[in-house]
Symmetry: C2
Subunit: 154 residues, 2 copies
């Protein structure tokens, strides 16, 4: 693997190195849905055991999932999202909405609500100054001046 090219948008590449393979996002999605155990995941995804085993291990190594023992004696673990994993939800939601909108055969099977008030949520880009949401065409990008600290997220 070549040395990292120092290009902008590199975080996308870095992120996809961690979660961009064929199964990882689907595993994370299932854990979101509440599936936690090896056989649950395997049954739902139809993934080969060795591959699931490998992916879960990597997700734990990377801090996206955490193992929690749910029974001693045959020590059995279930997998839960860490904060890091939980924060993948904007990406998952974005993929879901794109599929709902653009793929005729992917009927929207799920609606997402704001827990506090039960209103169906929207996902969008938000301008805190104008206090509006807006679409992709209203985005401009600029290289961040080097070394400037990132803003605290959320």
């Amino acid at each position: 693997m070549a040395a990292a090219r120092d290009e902008p948008f590199d975080s996308i590449a870095k992120t996809l190195e961690l979660v961009g393979d064929r199964w990882t996002m689907l595993i994370v999605r299932d854990v979101f849905r509440g599936l936690r155990r090896f056989e649950e995941l395997r049954g739902d995804l139809g993934i080969a055991r060795p591959v699931l085993s490998d992916r879960l291990g990597k997700l734990v190594d990377r801090g996206i999932l955490a193992k929690a023992r749910y029974q001693e004696h045959p020590p059995r673990y279930e997998y839960r999202l860490t904060e890091m994993g939980l924060e993948l939800s904007p990406a998952l939601v974005a993929l879901m909405r794109w599929g709902d909108r653009w793929l005729a055969d992917a009927a929207p099977g799920v609606v997402l609500y704001h827990r506090a008030c039960g209103t169906e949520l929207e996902q969008g880009f938000w301008c805190p100054k104008c206090a509006t949401t807006f679409g992709p065409r209203a985005i401009k990008s600029r290289a961040r001046p080097n070394g400037q600290p990132r803003r605290a997220a959320r």
Copy 2:
């Protein structure tokens, strides 16, 4: 391939079938950045030619990219985002921000602005009733009652 399981969140799986392989999202990202020609993309990504050729073809077939002839005579085409492709941006932005936040070695190289006013954008879940953004923990999900028409997006 087994018949589609009729599970909720299925749009995520469907979406990932189209853009979930190792390269496709990176290609889309590069087209977002303004790279349009075969060799530009190849040089930037370090992707093997046959793979790039195949992925571009599939992206065009699926309606995410469109070919536009930019010179006759050796007929040469460049690739541009369709509306469908453009709307992948929420997913790309979500992946980018996740990387910025959680991957120490992925310095945020790009800032995104609201074109109208120059303010740095946020991306979040938006509750139109409460007029606030909120995080993943404030989401609830429900199966959509069957056959209900999807809302007009954006």
